[in-house]
């Protein structure tokens, strides 16, 4: 077992435990903080795959947005920060069964995928992964259409938000 594997196991465990605590933590704000840890663990996994851009984007977009989530969690929940409500409602067994079924299904689908057990291929030395990614996003043969669709979707969301918040004069 080399160093990278040890790092992978440590951060995989941290990510999973934190993700579990996100849904079990009593206070909504604590959930948000555990979510930070889970997302950070994913960022570390990106770094271990030499995907520095994804790691930085993960921290910037997801962890950066947690601060906003935090505000909403505080503003939209009960006034007392020592929240003492019940955490489950009647349908929790059904939800648990659904979650397990979903997990098993995903696992089976992924395990039939040819590169499921593949080792990480070494990056071509000297290739600039970042500029390759940039080229791929605007190249017609690669991901131009998904990239532009995502942009249009985001612009639509932004216009919608502006329209909703605009006060008519």
């Amino acid at each position: 077992m080399d160093v990278m594997q040890i790092i992978f196991f440590i951060f995989a465990v941290i990510t999973l435990v934190a993700a579990f605590l996100v849904v079990t933590a009593k206070s909504l704000v604590h959930s948000a903080l555990w979510l930070v840890l889970a997302l950070f663990g994913v960022a570390v996994l990106y770094v271990s795959l030499d995907a520095g851009f994804f790691a930085a984007a993960q921290v910037l977009i997801y962890i950066g947005a947690i601060a906003i989530l935090f505000i909403f969690a505080v503003m939209l929940t009960r006034k007392d920060i020592r929240d003492t409500g019940t955490q489950q409602n009647r349908t929790w067994p059904l939800a648990a069964v659904l979650a397990v079924v979903l997990f098993v299904g995903l696992f089976f689908i992924l395990s039939s995928w040819s590169s499921f057990t593949m080792e990480r291929p070494d990056l071509v030395s000297g290739a600039d992964a970042l500029s390759n990614l940039g080229q791929a996003l605007v190249s017609v043969n690669a991901y131009l259409l998904p990239f532009e669709l995502a942009s249009v979707l985001l612009v639509a969301a932004m216009i919608g938000a502006i329209y909703v918040s605009l006060t008519k004069k």
Partner: protein, 404 residues
């Protein structure tokens, strides 16, 4: 002689040789040296605050026609040490109902978010923590962690003023991140890279010459990002007591205080690296120690500007601050980014790579945008003056009821 030329690399190589001499595996040895380097950079940046706090207080005092610290040491230069001893001996008070873990984690997170920035700042051609190829993105991402530390402090204190202060901070930092990122994209376009050290290497002409507007936008929005005057709405005494740090005492408050000073200095270092050519200067490539000197001279010049701005500007109201961001900085940054991208691409397509042409076109475009902005502002001001100057219905004093 080698030691004088480039002491930091020399010590690093010497240490690694020493560790290898002790039969330590090469991988472990280089990891140990890197760990030590990270420790030295972190400690150095924190120790620098001892000096910058004194410097800031002294300049502050001089501009306000006071003497400033002048008792401990020559010109009061050791004033920070008694202050430190005082803050170390103070009592920690944790308010009732505070969320203990989050409460104690917040100052650590805030300070470490600032120290993490020093990992990508290049001191000399080869003396840089790590030249990640997404350095600019890394800086912005680390800023997000700083925001998180502040909202954690505000929420966990169980104090409404602290919470309101944290809300304000988040709205300020998140909004000013937009023009800051847009302004940072201009050097990325000009240098064709995102790594900070590669950006410094790309500045055969300083980017402040190519794009003075981008430098100005970055400087202004980073002032809001570090939350000092004129943008110091996070700690408004009359409205919010001390903002998010109301409940903190002793060294925990000291962490926030040090974090703020260090952040101001770090932002100056970043401005110097990204726009003022960092370690670049005559003979910096041959004599790396000169590069370190150039870097610090430039950083202190920018830091002096930061201090002067802080002292001489009145603070903004919260609505003015947000208007300034969304209606002034962001539109200009967007226009500048589009224009710079177009100019850069057109020059590339025409195959023109003469430095002089590049400077004149970019600089001309920047000046054009500045002129246009000033013209729009002048027109708006004229309209506003007319509106104010028009005769308004005069209030008539109500007739006093005739008393009988």
């Amino acid at each position: 002689m080698e030691f004088l030329r480039d002491p930091i690399t020399f010590i690093g190589n010497w240490l690694e040789g020493l560790l290898l001499g002790w039969n330590i595996a090469p991988g472990v040895a280089s990891a140990l040296v890197q760990l030590l380097g990270a420790f030295v950079v972190g400690t150095f940046s924190l120790a620098l605050v001892i000096f910058t706090i004194w410097m800031e207080r002294k300049i502050y005092a001089r501009i306000q026609d006071r003497l400033g610290p002048n008792r401990v040491g020559p010109w009061g230069i050791f004033q920070t040490f008694p202050d430190m001893i005082k803050i170390f001996t103070k009592e920690y008070i944790t308010p009732d109902g505070a969320d203990k873990v989050v409460y104690n984690l917040a100052p650590i997170l805030t300070v470490s978010a600032v120290i993490l920035l020093w990992a990508v700042i290049p001191f000399a051609p080869k003396v840089v923590g790590t030249d990640v190829n997404v350095g600019v993105l890394y800086i912005v991402a680390i800023g997000a962690i700083g925001t998180l530390g502040i909202i954690m402090a505000g929420w966990s204190s169980n104090n409404k003023y602290a919470l309101f202060g944290a809300f304000r901070t988040v709205s300020q930092m998140v909004s000013y991140e937009v023009p800051m990122v847009l302004a940072l994209l201009v050097p990325v376009l000009l240098g064709h890279t995102m790594g900070i050290n590669s950006l410094v290497q790309a500045q055969s002409v300083w980017f402040v010459v190519l794009s003075p507007l981008a430098a100005l936008l970055f400087f202004l929005s980073s002032q809001a990002e570090i939350g000092r005057a004129p943008f110091d709405l996070l700690e408004a005494e009359s409205e919010l007591v001390a903002g998010y740090q109301t409940e903190y005492s002793g060294l925990k408050f000291g962490m926030f205080y040090v974090g703020e000073f260090l952040h101001a200095f770090t932002i100056s270092a970043l401005t110097a690296s990204i726009f003022l050519g960092g370690w670049r200067g005559p003979w910096a490539e041959q004599l790396p120690i000169l590069g370190v000197a150039y870097f610090f001279v430039k950083t202190f010049v920018v830091y002096f500007l930061v201090i002067v701005l802080r002292i001489t500007m009145p603070r903004l109201r919260i609505d003015q601050m947000l208007n300034f961001n969304w209606k002034f900085l962001t539109p200009i940054a967007l226009v500048l980014l589009i224009v710079t991208a177009l100019v850069e691409k057109i020059l590339q397509l025409l195959g023109q790579d003469s430095v002089l042409l590049r400077i004149s076109v970019h600089l001309g475009m920047n000046l054009l945008i500045i002129w246009g902005t000033v013209e729009i502002l002048r027109r708006m001001a004229r309209k506003e003056r007319q509106r104010v100057g028009e005769p308004r219905p005069v209030a008539i004093a109500p007739q006093t009821p005739a008393s009988d």
